[in-house]
């Protein structure tokens, strides 16, 4: 008998393992707008190559499916072919011996059901159903379609002020976004195909930190039209900024003392210093926008009144109301909504939690902010309780990691059950039910259910609830505005149907979302309000974008922002992340593949010079 041996991968195996990683990165950064049928065929080919060849359905069936899809793509098929594909896939799913076969067939089956029209159009016309076009990936995934390759190229040349000016063509919050943007651009960055996404957000922060002079604005002649913007957050101020550039007289109504909305009252200073926010707001206000703070529209002044007084209104109120847990004992003292806690801190009032035990409930970015803020307020112990797993959290992974590094304790698979009060009616503990992760639902997320164990008591002095927010829509509903699940109904142009002259966007329409989505909504609103007022103003930038010097892109690691050594966390709201050094920024900029110059972007769907 042969003796056991230490197993070592063959050289070829090592190479192919590397290729698997390359392909995985490549797939996750797939450009938008690919043909689903063509992709299905080629996924299927990969699956077929994985087949061991033992069983009929997988060995032969997957190949036959590929041939049939090939016929569809060649326009040499009809509806019957598509039916045959669907049936064959179903039979392979039923009869394949292992997952290699049945999962491959499922992929085809899902496709035939999910995009049958695409299959059909290929069969009959040999074409994709829609004009399929690849855009510049980062620009396409940025909701505000900021000219990313353009500003990265400028920063590479040391032209930080020009870079900031170019960003402002599409987004008047370059500084804010340099610090806290969720950067969907990076997800689709084509650089993934070489090594890893360009740190676009970090590069932007470098530019705003280093841009000295601020470029002049070109403002259109006054139009004599007036616009009221309700809500001075990122969306409202974006709309106000562009409308003002277009020559309209804009007045912003803000219920709080200061402008900024969630940026000021939701995002803690250690992530976004108020001076950074003020930088953007000051620039926006330079266009001559009038601001009325401390005015609560719906209470201090009616919507109807505004509608009469102004030619158009943009409703961009944020989601500042909290969601309740709906469990027993929630009325206990020291049960606080995360939004209230963060707002209070944003306003400069810092409650003393010295020595206290805090439970934060939730798994989103707000839960992380609450956890980290509680630690800074001196809490002795902060537990973040979440009903699913860390992998299921909606918070950015950086946020989770930093919360943990700062001493936040994340307890997963615990669902709140009830709150225990002491004799004074104060919180004494959060009772949670252990959960078990289970079947994956139709949304692709695994569900949770009660585990077969007893509830657990988590002793605490405070409970911070961070399970979602909603907009304060009641006053508007009373004046006849239609809402659905607490959000306003608006068209894709942001016009509110039947309102006469009201537009709405951002969190107010979509529910709580991100800064960049609010900015994008503000841009859309400005464009459509301008059209509504009878104008066709264009927003453009005169910044010239440098040509790429070299087309060399050897693989190179991505520069991630380092964390400052913040020392004693208590009462320390100083910035956590450190910006890139000059050297790092230069290197990171040179990683940009310039998809505006190379690839489809040089042909079509490239740079947008004006909007």
């Amino acid at each position: 008998m042969e003796r056991l041996q230490i197993e070592k991968p063959r050289e070829g195996e090592k190479v192919i393992e590397g290729l698997y990683r390359d392909i995985a990165r490549r797939i996750t950064s797939s450009p938008k707008g690919l043909c689903p049928v063509d992709m299905t065929l080629n996924f299927l080919r990969v699956c077929h190559a994985q087949s061991c060849g033992k069983c009929t359905p997988c060995r032969i069936g997957l190949g036959q499916l590929a041939d049939l899809i090939e016929d569809v793509l060649d326009g040499a098929a009809d509806e019957a072919t598509i039916d045959l594909i669907g049936q064959t896939a179903a039979h392979i799913m039923d009869t394949a011996d292992c997952a290699i076969g049945f999962e491959a067939a499922r992929l085809v089956h899902v496709g035939v059901l999910g995009f049958r029209d695409d299959f059909l159009n290929h069969a009959t016309h040999g074409n994709c159903l829609y004009g399929v076009e690849q855009s510049i990936p980062c620009m396409a995934s940025c909701p505000a379609h900021v000219d990313v390759p353009g500003y990265v190229a400028l920063i590479k040349e040391g032209r930080n002020a020009d870079a900031v000016a170019l960003i402002r063509k599409d987004n008047p919050f370059p500084s804010v976004c340099g610090y806290v943007c969720e950067h969907p651009c990076e997800k689709s960055c084509r650089r993934h195909m070489v090594d890893d996404a360009v740190n676009i957000c970090g590069i932007k922060r470098y530019a705003v930190d280093h841009a000295t002079e601020q470029a002049e604005l070109s403002q259109a002649e006054p139009t004599g039209k007036t616009v009221a913007v309700v809500g001075g957050g990122p969306g409202g101020l974006t709309a106000a900024y562009y409308l003002s550039l277009m020559g309209h007289a804009v007045t912003v109504y803000e219920q709080r003392d200061r402008l900024g909305g969630m940026l000021r009252y939701g995002i803690p200073d250690y992530r976004l210093p108020q001076s950074v926010l003020d930088n953007d707001i000051d620039f926006i206000l330079k266009t001559g926008i009038k601001v009325k703070t401390g005015v609560n529209v719906g209470e201090d002044i009616g919507v109807e009144e505004l509608k009469k007084e102004y030619d158009a209104i943009y409703l961009s109120i944020g989601a500042h109301d909290d969601r309740k847990l709906g469990i027993d004992g929630e009325d206990a003292r020291n049960v606080v909504p995360a939004v209230s806690m963060l707002r209070q801190v944003g306003e400069g009032h810092r409650p003393d939690l010295a020595g206290k035990r805090v439970c934060v409930v939730g798994g989103g970015n707000v839960a992380m902010d609450a956890t980290r803020t509680a630690l800074r307020l001196g809490a002795a112990d902060v537990k973040c309780v979440y009903r699913r797993r860390i992998a299921d959290m909606t918070a950015l992974s950086e946020e989770i990691e930093e919360a943990q590094a700062e001493g936040g304790n994340i307890l997963t698979l615990y669902a709140p059950d009830h709150i225990e009060k002491d004799g004074d009616g104060k919180v004494s503990a959060l009772w949670v039910r252990p959960q078990i992760i289970g079947a994956v639902g139709s949304d692709g997320r695994p569900s949770v259910s009660n585990a077969d164990t007893q509830p657990v008591r988590i002793a605490c002095d405070y409970i911070v609830v961070a399970i979602g927010q909603s907009i304060h829509s009641h006053p508007f509903e009373e004046s006849g505005m239609e809402t659905r699940r607490g959000a306003f109904k608006a068209e894709r142009s942001s016009f509110v149907p039947g309102s006469g002259n009201v537009f709405a966007g951002g969190d107010a329409v979509s529910g709580p979302a991100t800064v960049i989505l609010a900015v994008a909504a503000g841009k859309v609103a400005a464009d459509n309000i301008d059209d509504f007022l009878g104008f066709d103003h264009k927003i453009s930038s005169e910044v010239e974008i440098p040509q790429p010097v070299r087309a060399n892109f050897p693989p190179c690691g991505r520069v991630n922002l380092r964390t400052n050594d913040i020392g004693d966390i208590v009462n320390n709201f100083s910035l956590v992340s450190a910006g890139m050094t000059d050297e790092e920024a230069a290197q990171e900029c040179s990683r940009c593949l310039r998809c505006d110059q190379f690839g489809f972007g040089s042909f079509r769907k490239g740079r947008v010079m004006e909007w």
């Binding site: 326009g75 016309h125 040999g126 159903l129 399929v132 070299r550």
Partner: protein
């Protein structure tokens, strides 16, 4: 200026140049297929790749700007081998049945295959299925998908210069091909048949419908009297591929050649251009005086591409078009009435051919509204300048030995005003020359209306000028190219500009750059042709349409007066709007 080195030679070039341009200036040509300056510099074919010191990969010279100290090599084995591979890959998907191709000996791919000594190809031949390559052979614009090399030039010309978006990419990945946009058949689009895609196609994927056979049949038919007319812009281009100098390629030589070929009568469309002016200039004066042009101007109607455009895009402006038929159709109508009568033939026995720099004219002549009494078409067949070139080759005529001939009597005379119909601004200029006369009874003192001429080679979307016509100051505008036209129409409809008279030609620089003209690698020749027409006009004694003796005789003998009853019946039309999606 930057200093750089190409193939070891030091050169100094403007910094905005590409490597390809800089090389050309230094006498080093870099092969290219997709490149079209300012319109398609996308580096798609990868045939123009060169080595640049410091770059790991070869770079596309058509879209890479020069830099100080750049060291370029176009002549290394690495470059040659890589470009050879790309040429072979392109050829693997190209139906290279060259000897039965309309572009044989005028094909950029064929030339490169020869230049690179490609004697074999190791790659599999990949051709589209019959279904995907199908095309309506009766449409005046013909596309052969299996010859397309996906250079995207047609898409770009149609998008950027003409703004019509007829072409698009279809499918993705390896199946990506060029096709009609939006899953439509070409007959379902609002294609104006301008033919700009054809003249910018580097290979034989796009061409006009070949109607030479019908013409040869008519010539061979002893019962038929064949009549041919030659459009003004044809004279500026017909000799380009025939080895003739511009001096040799006179229209009189062409007239001689056509007669030698067997046409019974040969005419010059410049004659009916003069006739068009008689009608159109008078119509303009009448409509202006009647106050019909207070809001929107009168537009010229001689360009069928423009007429198709306005029908699909701006039907609300259709009523503003001059009702005058185009010179081609006027000539046809006169041939099958006045001329038929004079030579004692019935219109059915006359076969009327016109040679045009245009593909859209093939569609125009087939329209129901362009038929005379009894449904006899005014013009039976339109041949493009390119078909004329082919016809001359077929007949094996040695052009340099052909005797120059005159045009046939009755309609032999033409003015310089008629000749400049073949270039942007020419129709306007010709009309203004005569309009002044019609209003004041005197010819204008300055004959050249320089402001409506395009001295900047298409730099402006449109040109405008004001002229004194009698007591009235007339505001005119001239545009060529359909994106420009679209911009002008929008400005007019939005009320941003006001004109009395507007000339539109669908092709850039007008008919001299027409979609039926001879094809060259790049497209600068259109401006030379236009300048040539102006030079011909300048040298002519007769420069006013209304002074053309044969025109005066035609009115005296037959038509009566301009806009009179017979003239109206024969020379005017009603522009009917087309149902959506078709023209």
């Amino acid at each position: 200026m930057v200093n750089m080195k190409i193939n070891g030679r030091d050169i100094t070039v403007p910094e905005e140049m590409t490597i390809l341009e800089a090389s050309a200036g230094a006498g080093i040509s870099i092969p290219h297929l997709c490149y079209l300056k300012g319109i398609n510099d996308i580096g798609a074919c990868r045939v123009c790749c060169v080595e640049v010191e410091g770059d790991e990969k070869l770079v596309a010279s058509c879209k890479t700007q020069v830099q100080e100290g750049m060291v370029v090599r176009t002549d290394t084995k690495r470059v040659r081998d890589a470009v050879t591979t790309n040429l072979r890959l392109i050829l693997s998907q190209h139906d290279n049945s060259c000897n039965t191709c309309v572009r044989n000996e005028n094909c950029q791919l064929q030339t490169l295959a020869k230049d690179f000594n490609l004697l074999d190809n190791p790659y599999h031949k990949q051709q589209l299925s019959e279904k995907l390559a199908q095309w309506d052979a009766s449409f005046p614009l013909i596309r052969d998908a299996n010859k397309c090399i996906k250079c995207m030039r047609c898409i770009q010309i149609c998008d950027k210069v003409q703004g019509m978006h007829v072409w698009d990419l279809a499918a993705t990945g390896g199946r990506t091909r060029v096709d009609v946009s939006g899953n439509r058949a070409v007959t379902e689009t609002d294609c104006t048949l301008c033919g700009q895609c054809i003249v910018h196609c580097p290979v034989g994927a796009l061409k006009e419908r070949d109607d030479i056979g019908d013409v040869l049949d008519a010539i061979a038919d002893p019962e038929m009297t064949t009549v041919v007319q030659i459009a003004p812009a044809v004279r500026a281009a017909w000799g380009e591929h025939g080895g003739l100098t511009r001096e040799q390629a006179k229209v009189d030589r062409l007239a001689g050649a056509l007669r030698q070929m067997g046409f019974d009568y040969v005419f010059d469309t410049s004659f009916s251009a003069d006739l068009t002016i008689m009608e159109e200039a008078n119509e303009f004066v009448e409509r202006l005086t009647a106050g019909e042009l207070a809001e929107y101007p009168m537009f010229t109607s001689c360009c069928p591409g423009w007429v198709r455009f306005v029908k699909s895009r701006y039907p609300q402006l259709l009523g503003q078009l001059s009702t005058a038929k185009s010179p081609q159709q006027m000539f046809g109508a006169v041939i099958k009435s006045y001329f038929a009568e004079k030579i004692g033939k019935s219109p059915e026995k006359i076969f009327s051919v016109s040679i045009m720099p245009c593909v859209s004219k093939k569609d125009e002549c087939a329209m129901d509204s362009m038929k005379g009494d009894g449904g006899v078409p005014d013009v039976d067949v339109v041949l493009t300048t390119r078909e004329l070139e082919r016809l001359l080759r077929m007949e094996q005529i040695h052009l340099e030995t052909v005797t120059e001939g005159h045009f046939d009597s009755l309609m032999a005379d033409y003015s310089g005003a008629g000749v400049i119909f073949g270039v942007t601004g020419g129709v306007m200029e010709a009309a203004l020359r005569s309009a002044v006369y019609f209003v004041t009874g005197e010819n204008p003192t300055v004959i050249d209306f320089e402001d409506v001429r395009d001295h900047e080679s298409g730099a402006k979307p449109w040109r405008e000028a004001t002229y004194q016509v009698g007591d009235v100051t007339v505001r005119v505008a001239v545009a060529s190219g359909l994106s420009n036209t679209d911009a002008l129409c929008r400005a007019i409809l939005k009320g941003r500009v006001h004109y009395d008279f507007v000339e539109i030609m669908a092709c850039p620089n007008g008919c001299s750059g027409g979609g039926g003209q001879p094809i060259h690698t790049d497209s600068d020749e259109r401006f030379d042709r236009g300048r040539h027409l102006y030079a011909l006009d300048k040298d002519m004694k007769l420069r006013f349409s209304h002074e053309n003796p044969d025109i005066i005789k035609l009115y005296d003998d037959y038509l009566g007066k301009p806009l009179g009853e017979r003239a109206h019946h024969l020379l005017h039309t009603v522009h009917e709007s087309a149902p959506t999606g078709t023209v």
